[in-house]
């Protein structure tokens, strides 16, 4: 399944947030979206998933979703969005119940995704008992349970400490290497963007426009061994963004 963004523009009561964004998201490809704060990258992601409507332009999908796919466009949220009144298994079961998957069939799916995210020992734990990294693993397991065609990741590692972030990046790369998925990965962290993105879309300050699309031609699994090259790309990206990030930082939130 492919996703096409066709000249997306968006305004919130008079303020232009996004302007003329066209982009395509290929099968099995991770596209990192970076930009200074307030450039509308999270808004863009909500539009891709159909949670928000752009003022003009449209988001299109082509091609059929993979077999057994329950929810083609599936989010992973920055704040995990786990129901505190459901256990780990219950949180995953939540997204299966409406598809009539219960009992033994649900257990099978839950066991599978928990094993893939190394959570098998935590089936019955409550979210409050888990660390941030474990909570995000549960959210990833929940997303995998619906066999998404595209993962929409909204700063998924931003609420975690830097060591947990490293661990989870490795996990994501491992998951992708075993079964490639396509993803739009919104982040403000350039290291994450270059580690996980096949392409990196740099948005400008508000109103967000595509400034540049950087392609990194290096398999995800090989990247840890080539940190020096990645660091150079990261530095170039930062040089590109620095002035705008500084200007965005000085903007009033409601201006």
């Amino acid at each position: 399944m492919r996703i096409l963004l066709d000249k997306i523009s968006h305004a919130y009561d008079g303020t232009q947030v996004l302007q003329d964004i066209s982009l395509d998201l290929g099968k099995g490809e991770i596209v990192s979206i970076i930009g200074p704060s307030g450039c509308g990258k999270s808004t863009l992601l909500r539009m891709i998933g159909g949670l928000e409507r752009p003022t003009s332009g449209q988001v299109l999908v082509t091609g059929a979703a993979p077999q057994g796919c329950l929810n083609p466009l599936t989010y992973i949220f920055q704040d995990f969005a786990l129901l505190p009144w459901r256990t780990v298994a219950g949180n995953i079961s939540l997204v299966l119940e409406d598809h009539g998957i219960r009992g033994a069939r649900a257990r099978e799916v839950i066991d599978d995704v928990l094993a893939r995210t190394k959570l098998s020992d935590f089936r019955k734990a409550w979210p409050r008992q888990l660390s941030g990294g474990m909570k995000q693993r549960v959210a990833i397991a929940r997303a995998l349970a619906v066999r998404p065609a595209v993962m929409l990741m909204d700063e998924p590692l931003s609420a975690l400490d830097s060591q947990t972030r490293e661990l989870l990046m490795d996990d994501l790369v491992e998951l992708w290497t075993r079964t490639p998925f396509s993803a739009a990965y919104v982040t403000h962290n350039l290291a994450e963007a270059v580690r996980l993105g096949h392409r990196i879309v740099v948005l400008s300050r508000r109103p967000g426009r595509i400034r540049e699309v950087v392609t990194i031609d290096m398999p995800l699994a090989d990247r840890p061994a080539h940190m020096a090259e990645l660091e150079k790309i990261q530095r170039d990206l930062w040089d590109m963004m620095r002035d705008e990030a500084a200007a965005a930082d000085r903007e009033l939130a409601d201006a």
């Binding site: 929810n71 599936t74 989010y75 969005a81 129901l83 505190p84 939540l94 409406d98 409050r128």
Partner: protein
Amino acid sequence: MRDTKTEIRIPADAKPVPFRGGGFRQRRHPLLAPLVLAALLAIWWAGSATGVISPIAMPAPKDVIDAFRDLWTTGALWTNLSVSLYRLLVGWILGSLLGIAVGLMIGLFSQARASALPIVSALFPVPKIALLPLFIIWFGIGEGSKVATILFGTFFPTVISTYAGVDAVDRGLIRMGQSFGLRWSSIVRKIILPGALPAILSGFRISFSIAIVLLVAAEMIGAQHGIGAYILMAGSLFNLGQLFAGVILLSAIGLFGSWLIGLAERRMLDWRQ
């Protein structure tokens, strides 16, 4: 070079940093409450026995015990308690159920909020006991009017705590439900209701004590039986022993109710810790 063992020489003038943390924290003192209660009872008993406490102001503990014995032997305990509990429970349960239903509507539908919330806000502050004469005209002098008073008295606070609970549900969780394509009914049942439950249950504590207040008030105005009627009768006969017995019964009902609500909280909100 890595130094894993560092010797520190402590100078002669080194002093420990004075401790200034601690305090401002509640600890458990399980023995204190029974001790205070026993001490109060002892003072009461000694005061009455020596005549320091006038029997006109406070009954002797013995009078209260006698009143309870009378209540028990004549069967009046059960007559009064059963009618009071019936009015209280029917009124409170119906008021709470209706309150949750209307509160959910207000929380979920903006049309319901726009139309019902002003009415709720206008009627909430009216002391429901002032409406008892009206309820007597509507529902008769019997049980109906008393139950209706309690029902209306508990309905409004429940509406308010329910819709406030719905409003307080994390929007991020609702968006998550939508993003996974959950049905509207699933979102309400599995995300909004459990999310509002803590607020609904703590609203129950308030509405239950309101229900007891209204029960006694309604029974004092027009009832033959019931704890309120019993207290009123005792008061007009200056039988302080009976009056105290009635008050102790009310307190026991209140304590039992809040214990039950606490139990429900621990069971239904076990995910909170």
